[in-house]
């Protein structure tokens, strides 16, 4: 973007909004918005505390396990639904229901089922992420050109080879897109789960800071989470870019 002939760097809008925040913060309008500089210095202090580091380890562990399950179950289920009419009829309704369901409302039920510990968080991450991964994998498999499958059949490929060498590769762009959105939803899941359980990881910290009106740390923690979610999505997006030519050439 250019303004009055000057090229404006990509992150410029972020800096502008940070400045606006800083000014509003110094005006002391409302205690909820401390100056950005105070938040940043609180953030630097925060990441050095043992409580933050422990919370981060717990959070990452729940997130990674939940996401691994979501991808490990979601992708095969989506591929199965894309290939088999029967599987699609059996699971289709449920997947579509859950993908738009207000899952936060389910977390208290999960707490009863899985206790007030990490298991509940893992299940929450899984439930937040898995449905979109299933739907995208299914969509990717369904739009594999029939002629590519016929081609492989005509050269004598058995169904397992067709799945491995044609279907999975042809559906890869959609599978990756599903995983990217799943990761973002998973971050939401881990935070919402922890806040509702309120005694683990970042949820405990959020609870602590908001109860004691420690807004600097509250915002610092939020920014750390935003940055992590954007970083994750950015990494997958890079992988998607590398195979972008697929979609156009199919």
């Amino acid at each position: 973007m250019t303004l009055f002939g000057f090229r404006i760097p990509m992150m410029a809008s972020l800096i502008v909004w940070a400045l606006v925040w800083e000014i509003v913060g110094h005006m002391d309008v409302i205690f909820l918005i401390p100056p950005m500089s105070a938040i940043l210095s609180a953030g630097i202090d925060l990441v050095q505390t043992a409580s933050w580091q422990n919370a981060t380890v717990v959070t990452i562990r729940s997130f990674v396990i939940g996401m691994a399950l979501a991808i490990g179950i979601g992708v095969p289920l989506g591929v199965l639904m894309g290939r088999s009419r029967i599987a699609d009829n059996i699971f289709g309704l449920w997947v579509n229901m859950f993908v738009s369901a207000p899952l936060s409302a389910l977390v208290p039920v999960l707490m009863i089922l899985f206790g007030m510990g990490e298991t509940t968080i893992v299940v929450t991450v899984f439930l937040f992420a898995v449905w979109i991964i299933v739907l995208d994998a299914r969509a990717g498999v369904m739009q594999v050109p029939p002629s590519l499958i016929e081609m492989a059949r005509s050269y004598g490929a058995p169904p397992s080879t067709i799945l491995r060498k044609i279907v999975l590769l042809a559906a890869l762009p959609e599978i990756l897109a599903g995983i990217r959105i799943g990761l973002i939803r998973g971050v939401k899941g881990v935070v919402i789960g922890q806040i509702l359980v309120a005694i683990i990881g970042y949820g405990e910290l959020f609870e602590l800071y908001s109860r004691s009106f420690d807004m600097e740390r509250f915002w610092a923690l939020t920014i750390v989470l935003f940055a992590a979610a954007m970083l994750l999505s950015g990494i997958v997006e890079r992988a998607e870019k590398r195979i972008e030519y697929y979609a156009g050439a199919r």
């Binding site: 016929e150 005509s154 050269y155 004598g156 050439a249 199919r250």
Partner: protein, 266 residues
């Protein structure tokens, strides 16, 4: 025998070496009858075209011969053996090329051999030879999206030749290729028919294309698809391509087929 054409009579067709025999093939899609008792024979070294208006089942018949679509009744014999599925003695060229966008030209051409389990070095050697045959040398490491439509279909043809099948099944291979390239393709196809000594079964909806490339044209009539006429264009292929397209005999056959098909057109 008439210089141009003769009425269809299965018994009168002299086949010296019928590589493919289509015997009483019928195909129903639910209550729709797509093909009704098709009997045909295809000889080695000859190119036969299945020609007809849309809905006559020509592509369905080709896919039944390929073993990609099951017939409702009747059977397909290849080299004297009844076949029910795809086999290594038949290779298919697709209308939309059916190239793997994630694979290079070399890997696409070698894909049939890869599925057969041919070692990499051997299949790449064979693939390079056929890439050269279709005039794509230097493009081995390119991806399909980097090629023009005409070049992509050359890849499809090279892939079919690389498996060294006896029977080449071509489903409207040039319909997605622009006009200049199509003419060049037709000439190249004639050259390949001449040097490869294989059985070619070709589907097209273009009368001119059919007359130009075919040793024999099977006219199918629609709903249900039946063989309505078999025509053998007697065209001197040694002549210059441009002269052939102006030749009176060529134009007469085109006209005759058009008269046979025109009542199917709206």
């Amino acid at each position: 025998m008439s210089a141009l054409a003769e009425e269809f009579d299965p018994a009168s067709i002299v086949t010296h070496d019928p590589v493919v025999r289509v015997e009483g093939i019928c195909k129903h899609y639910g209550s729709v009858e797509a093909l009704r008792s098709i009997d045909l024979q295809f000889e080695r070294g000859k190119l036969t075209t299945l020609l007809g208006p849309s809905g006559c089942g020509k592509t369905t018949l080709l896919k039944i011969i390929a073993g990609l679509v099951p017939a409702t009744s009747g059977r397909i014999m290849v080299n004297g053996r009844a076949v029910t599925g795809p086999g290594p003695e038949r290779a298919f060229v697709f209308q939309d090329f059916a190239l793997m966008p994630w694979a290079t030209v070399l890997r696409n051409v070698a894909f049939g051999l890869e599925l057969k389990g041919t070692p990499a070095a051997e299949r790449n050697r064979v693939a390079r030879h056929h890439i050269e045959q279709v005039g794509l040398q230097g493009f081995e490491d390119k991806y399909p999206h980097e090629l023009s439509g005409g070049m992509r279909q050359r890849v499809g043809i090279a892939r079919a030749f690389a498996v060294n099948a006896d029977v080449l099944l071509l489903d409207e291979p040039f319909s997605a290729v622009d006009e200049q390239n199509r003419r060049k393709f037709q000439e190249d196809l004639l050259r390949l028919v001449e040097i490869e000594n294989k059985t070619f079964i070709f589907v097209t909806h273009s009368i001119e294309e059919a007359v130009y490339v075919s040793d024999r044209i099977v006219l199918l009539s629609p709903r249900p698809g039946r063989v309505s006429q078999v025509i053998e264009p007697k065209i001197d292929r040694a002549a210059d391509p441009d002269d052939i397209r102006r030749d009176a005999g060529y134009l007469d056959v085109v006209e005759e087929i058009w008269q046979g098909l025109r009542h199917y057109a709206e």
